[in-house]
Subunit: 298 residues, 2 copies
């Protein structure tokens, strides 16, 4: 394609930028980034692409616009984009929840503009363009969202684009997407934040430090609990119905575990611990994690 | 020292074995391992030390006996050891909870035998002698347990021993130990098991697979939830009072999070997410985890 615009050049935006440049996917890459600090870092890193001062300059005549900002920024940007004539432009995003953003797009984006949502399953606990990696999305799933208004031509376009990026594609509805990721991603993050919060509360209540003994398990959760707060607030708020249900299932199971422990129910607890073990091998077989003990840390 | 006996030669026992041999800490190393499969693997791996057929052969005239079995094996082994005269032997263990084992030792170990407990903070989701590593305990904390019967001479002996192994030593009571590790290790493991169990329940209820989309968070938990089930059942049962309290604190906090999400309480949720982030930097500063994004996996 001739021209792509990346809006928001943090961890994921800059990873896309690096990859699009490396694989020569677009002749021109434009970046619209409102944070002065990020712009300075992008320049210092000598990343490819042209930083534009106005959204208009980046958007006009682009084949693809990719939103890589927190989801809470979408509405404001949509209202700006509505001022431009973009007949040959497809808009997409990489947001982690889809029902709410579908509603925002439907409600605010003018009808002549086209938006089909994407969600590449990639990320890290660190933020900012300095942490981006050219291979961030390689061999990772990318979900394309199909609802009743989605045009096949746009799905095909995104399919080709993400394949060039190196991702594996799957298409699903916003509803199915938000259900699945409430369990595989949103709940795990919430649980990690909550565990670290509980450890902090405990440490405050007792008068001794315990974080230094975190190598026995807590440290793993602390990584996820260090993820970007704006991004995760947006996800929690946007997918609150599914996340609430996931919390309820989790608490129900946790109370059953507690009962097993307190009654020393050997059979029930062993059954659970043996069952959960199988998921790890499945994940490794599906190449969703590294096949080394302890993530190869040691 | 002249002679050490390691009882149980799985992941941690074999790691101690490797280290004691490498650092020449004992002239003779004996191994008592009841699993025929493990014995075969130890032989195949050509690990150092002498595998003994009877506990007596290993125990007599040893300077140090180290229990590296699941905690549920202690009582049986204590009753055997009581048959031998071991005036110059110190017994220790590497069990992950201490109040219950203190009680077992006090109740069953004959008065002429000496036992002072250890807990090196190390491990992995994999089990067995083939996964042992000589540097498993290097730069890791090792907790020595002091209660009212503990003799200073034994603490000193263990202090020297674990320092030679490469660990950093701290002494605490069984009560303090079990409180701290209920939060930094036992609850995280339970939470990981419970999250994976909830994902399995969800997958069963829905008719589509979701484990393949686990790269967004779930995969991290699946590692911990693949830990040895016998070891973890023992820990959960042995430290049930502290773990129950930790569960209650965790659920209370989780329900507060749920309320924040459902009411879109921006201020409260951001405060929490920003606070928890600090723990990660603290853990890395304390050298309790690797200083690389995503555990250096990618």
């Amino acid at each position: 394609m001739k021209k792509v615009l990346i809006i928001g050049c943090g961890l994921l935006g800059s990873s896309l930028l690096r990859r699009i440049y490396k694989k020569n996917i677009a002749k021109k890459i434009f970046i619209y980034e409102k944070s002065k600090s990020k712009v300075a870092r992008i320049k210092k890193l000598k990343l490819p692409g042209t930083i534009v001062k106005t959204l208009k300059e980046g958007a006009l005549n682009s084949d693809l616009i990719i939103f890589c900002t927190p989801m809470s920024e979408y509405k404001k940007l949509i209202l700006k984009l509505n001022n431009y004539n973009l007949p040959n432009t497809l808009i997409t995003d990489i947001g982690s929840s889809k029902i709410e953003t579908s509603k925002i797009i439907k409600k605010f984006l003018k009808k002549s503009l086209n938006w089909t949502q994407s969600h590449p399953i990639a990320g890290s606990e660190v933020s900012g363009p300095e942490h981006g990696r050219e291979n961030m999305f390689v061999e990772r799933w990318c979900i394309l969202i199909r609802d009743k208004n989605t045009k096949k031509i746009h799905l095909n376009f995104l399919n080709k684009f993400w394949k060039k990026i190196g991702s594996k594609i799957v298409v699903m509805t916003p509803e199915k997407h938000d259900k699945i990721f409430s369990i595989t991603s949103h709940l795990p993050h919430l649980i990690a934040y909550n565990l670290v919060k509980s450890a902090q509360d405990f440490e405050k209540k007792q008068s001794y430090g315990l974080i230094k003994y975190s190598a026995g398990g807590l440290r793993d959760f602390s990584r996820i609990a260090a993820s970007n707060e704006i991004m995760w607030r947006d996800i929690f708020f946007n997918n609150k119905v599914n996340i609430s249900k996931a919390i309820d299932l989790f608490v129900k199971n946790l109370n059953a575990f507690k009962k097993d422990i307190n009654s020393k129910n050997n059979k029930s607890i062993l059954k659970k611990l043996i069952q959960t073990k199988k998921v790890r091998s499945k994940i490794i077989k599906l190449k969703q994690d590294i096949d080394k003990p302890d993530f190869g840390r040691n």
